[in-house]
Amino acid sequence: MTPPEPKPARRRRAKAEPAEEAPPKPRRTRRAKTRPEEAAPPPEAETKAEAETDAPAPKAPGGPVLLSRAVSATRRAIRRAWVERRTPPLAPRSGGLGTTGVLCALVAALALAAGVAGERLARAWTAEFGAAATLVALGPPEAAARDFRAALVVLETTPGIADLRVLEAPERRALLAPWLGPNQAAPSEPPPMAAMRLVDGGPDPEMLALRLAEEAPGAVFDDHSGWRGPLLSAAGDARLIGWGAAALAGALGMALCARIAGGWTARGREAQRLLRRMGATRARLRRAWAGRAAWRTFWAAGLGAALAAAALAAPELLDGPAARVPIAPSGWDWLALAAPAPLFALAAWAGARLALRPALRGDAEAGR
């Protein structure tokens, strides 16, 4: 490659004709302090500054070296964050991402609370009503007492029955009260009753009915099968609706966050190209856009979840009917409300990463 030797233009020292003061003395970067000949290229011979900022991560071999590199990387990240804390981010404000994150997380957290409540309700109904049975002896008091004792003997020897317990008079009156209504007092001596739990599918109903008819004709065994089925079916529906609403709200929120983060990143393509022309690495651009989108969405969604938690918790602080809001989580279930924040942040990160691909590939640059 031998370029033609041009005839040098007439050489003169700058006369400082237009500008009277000297131009600012150029400050070279640490690398530029050396002559270009000395500095000769290898791109991998990066300056310390680059290593602290934009250097692509070298391949880690593993073991203790991996650990020490992880520590170094963490130190670099902290230092970078410390240095950059006073400067505005490279990416512009992510218009709409924060608001979307708050609103979507609010809706998703409420839907999630509904899902958790539906699940809790279904479990409670299944546990409380699905395996409960009662025995009551009807008829004249003496005959009823005799049949009740005989029925108890039958039930104690029947497989599939556990926790057989005779109910005291106050419990029996309390059980009868809803059936008699507020204007009629429960009898002072209600018929004898017993409660029990069915295990292993409960006793064979036909066999039990035959034995009771023979030995205690006035005793009535009720495993509530008449209304237990519809109740359990309703509990299943409540569970399905709750989780379905939560999944739908979550999926919609993730799609919205990803879409808005992607649109915001795509709008910054000119800025990304400019930064690449100045030597910004792919990692730097990913941090500036995808990282910022994820971080902003995470905090926004966290705020939305906190608002939802406050809305659910507020009635519990009150007295009266509002205190029994069925949707409010309890115990560790409150933690489930935090789930949308990382999920939405992940979606925003993925949306931004996808939209960043053209600028990272550099194909637009090459073909420009």
Partner: protein, 226 residues
């Protein structure tokens, strides 16, 4: 070792051959002024040198080594040794002018206070000190070009490329920009300007040490384009 060497470079854009076997070498400490008519390929030549464009043929060497492809990770590192002021400079609109000018220092990991001081000094010298806190959108075309020049040189790059730096500038502004680039060349930078401005060519010819080239029919030759 030359900062930039091209040999037999060929580039076609939009179905038209822009550079057709151009040869050129730019060493550290040299200031080259490339002249040529509109569409002659000056911007394409500088875009090649700035690793913004890949040639279709020929050889491109930067700092003594073959230049990587524009989308190769090695190009990211190499670009930090190059300062380019483009014909239509772009800025980050959410940052102030001072922050925009200091961007190369920021990418190099320099301390915020240091980079702000350096940006202010450069802006002051280029007559933009009072616009330092303004958004780029508020600047005139001439001010944008001066700011782009400041941004191109602030990190002390080894290779400086300026595309039509005198456009929309008054005479004093053209002279001041040229004087700064000549001073940087004296300090060891390799500087290339592309222009069709007669005033800039006159100043380069009579007041600074510069080599003049003309780009015609896709090839470079010594002299000034008509």
């Amino acid at each position: 070792m030359a900062a930039l060497e091209i040999g037999g470079i060929r580039v076609a854009r939009g179905g038209r051959t822009v550079l057709d076997g151009a040869d050129w070498s730019l060493a550290p400490g040299e200031l080259h002024v490339i002249t040529g008519a509109t569409g002659a390929g000056k911007s394409t030549l500088l875009a090649l040198a700035a690793l913004s464009l890949a040639p279709q043929g020929g050889e491109l060497r930067l700092f003594g080594a073959p230049a990587p492809a524009p989308d190769a990770p090695a190009a990211d590192v190499l670009r930090r040794r190059i300062g380019a002021a483009e014909q239509r400079p772009a800025f980050l609109d959410h940052l102030t002018l001072e922050e925009n000018v200091a961007l190369p220092l920021r990418l190099a990991g320099r301390d915020p206070a240091d980079r702000a001081a350096q940006a202010r000094e450069l802006l002051d010298w280029l007559g933009l000190a009072d616009r330092a806190g303004d958004p780029p959108a508020a600047l005139s075309e001439g001010e944008r070009r001066r700011a782009a020049l400041a941004r191109a040189v602030i990190a002390g790059p080894e290779l400086i490329l300026a595309d039509e730096p005198s456009e929309a500038q008054d005479r004093a502004g053209v002279a001041r920009g040229l004087e700064m680039l000549a001073a940087l060349a004296e300090h060891g930078a390799a500087v290339a300007l592309a222009t069709r401005d007669a005033e800039l060519v006159r100043l380069a010819r009579h007041h600074v040490e510069a080599r003049l080239w003309r780009l015609e029919e896709g090839r470079l030759s010594p002299g000034v384009a008509a």
